[in-house]
Symmetry: C2
Subunit: 118 residues, 2 copies
């Protein structure tokens, strides 16, 4: 698949709540995931999927929107807007983040998350 | 200035129509600008500013919005939405693009533009 095809497939799956299918099918086994909090990168598909599963378990997701994709070369972006409650805090908020994805050999090899700043 | 301070300053200047002030003051002399059309990167502040000036000359800009910033490490993104007319074609359209900026030593050293795909 081309970079645009992969981008559109990721978007389609995320728009239909199939985020984990997207990770299983589109991510390289050696995917690297970089969060914005300065934590060490997460390496490997199983590790990255567990990170997402942990995030889902810690939040109540009321609704979510995925928009884009925005493409340049072997990279693309998707914008995610989530209406969530952080379970541990009982705090409801809107998350506005951009995912930046890098593709090589038909798979996503890197994802980096950027958060909107007040 | 920190990455977040530079991001907010770029956003503030772009929101107030001072895009060229932003380039003059925040860009490294060795800035590299990467468009999404596969063209060779534009290198150097004067070259990048000329590219922008050429773009402005070729378009009538009815309105523009800059949003964000989205931050991760030494990079940030700004979303630009422009209501423009391409003068040569008489074609009016909305441009939806993301700028991805990389900072080093207090200056923006790289900008990459990603365009929303239908």
């Amino acid at each position: 698949m081309s970079v645009l095809e992969i981008a559109k497939e990721l978007l389609r799956l995320c728009q239909s709540g199939q985020n984990f299918v997207a990770m299983e099918t589109l991510y390289s086994d050696d995917i690297v995931s970089v969060e914005a909090d300065g934590s060490a990168p997460y390496v490997g598909k199983a590790v990255v999927i567990k990170k997402s599963a942990d995030w889902v378990a810690a939040h109540e997701i009321h609704s979510g929107v995925a928009a884009g994709p925005y493409v340049n070369g072997n990279q693309f972006m998707v914008r995610f807007t989530f209406d969530i409650t952080i379970k541990a805090k009982g705090l409801r908020l809107t998350m506005d983040e951009m995912g930046l994805y890098t593709v090589a050999d038909g798979k996503i090899i890197r994802e980096e998350f950027f958060y909107a700043q007040a």
